[in-house]
């Protein structure tokens, strides 16, 4: 199985909206050893100008994950999950994620490259809020090891 270079430029349909829960933000914050009161205390978050508790920066991966699952499950993409290594990751924020956000994520394959028998697939997931405004773009490069 090899990665299909024709998936470069392909956009997948948006995944069902994700509703950001306050307890999920707190749980994720504890899991990444985040101590800011803005993750845990709605009053502290409101005092800082936010509608509710603020998610840690990498919480966006939870939203992105469903779109990566879409890409990996597509037989036409030809990505063997058992050969995938996460190469790099980036989050570019329009604004922070806060509890109560209803977020929609759409993945686009921005590039497919071959490098020394491996494939490098870069996937860009755009996350927008209920009003269609940009919240964050999550970019992952997956290294897919070639057949040995």
């Amino acid at each position: 199985m090899t990665v299909n270079p024709a998936i470069q430029g392909r956009e997948f349909p948006p995944v069902p909206p994700y509703l950001v829960g306050r307890e999920k933000v707190r749980e994720f914050a504890r899991a990444v050893l985040a101590t800011s009161p803005l993750h845990h205390d709605p009053d502290a978050a409101r005092a800082a100008g936010y509608a509710d508790v603020v998610a840690p920066p990498t919480f966006a991966v939870v939203i992105q994950e469903a779109t990566l699952a879409q890409l990996l499950a597509d037989p036409d993409a030809g990505i063997d999950f058992s050969r995938v290594v996460h190469g790099d990751q980036r989050f570019s924020f329009g604004r922070p994620i806060v509890a109560g956000d209803e977020l929609t994520a759409t993945l686009r394959v921005s590039s497919v490259k071959s490098l020394g028998g491996n494939s490098m697939v870069t996937a860009e997931t755009t996350v927008t809020d209920h009003d269609g405004a940009h919240v964050v773009t999550a970019i992952s490069t997956l290294v897919v090891r070639g057949d040995e």
Binding site: P56, H86, F91
Partner: protein, 145 residues
């Protein structure tokens, strides 16, 4: 070792200045907790037999756990997680988590660039385990007053 400068401001920042340094301990419990919170249940992050069967030196920390923790000293220094406007890393070396002793991860955050026209600074992270770097090009952009 903990050294915090809370309420970081753009004025007076200098390229190369260390803004935060902190050590973290990852145990297997840390990994299980992160698996549950993130939904990443890949068994290489909690099962020794599965890790060994795919040729790994042991159970590994989720790369996204290391990424998520490594930005925390910056968030604490800035005082507001909403001021992180961009964050990227490259996963260069796996972090093996011993079942008994866990592993210690050290983070040093220093100013990489001052972006005065955007009221921002780029903070570069040096993330090491036993003196060896585990993340490459780990850069955080923060909005400062």
């Amino acid at each position: 070792m903990t050294m915090q400068h809370t309420g970081l401001e753009l004025d007076g920042l200098a390229v190369g200045q260390v803004v935060a340094e902190k050590d973290y301990h990852f145990s297997r419990d840390t990994l299980v907790r992160y698996a549950g919170a993130s939904g990443d249940f890949n068994p290489i992050h909690y099962r020794d037999d599965v890790a060994a069967s795919v040729g790994l030196p042991g159970v590994l920390a989720h790369g996204m756990l290391t990424m998520g923790v490594a930005v925390q000293p910056v968030v604490e220094a800035v005082g507001d997680p909403g001021r992180v406007t961009d964050y990227q890393v490259r996963f260069t070396r796996p972090v093996v988590v011993d079942p008994q002793n866990g592993v210690d991860v050290s983070v040093m955050a220093k100013v990489g660039a001052i972006l005065a026209e955007e009221s921002s600074a780029r903070i570069d992270l040096v993330v090491t385990v036993g003196g060896t770097t585990v993340l490459g090009k780990a850069q955080v952009r923060v909005l400062l007053r």
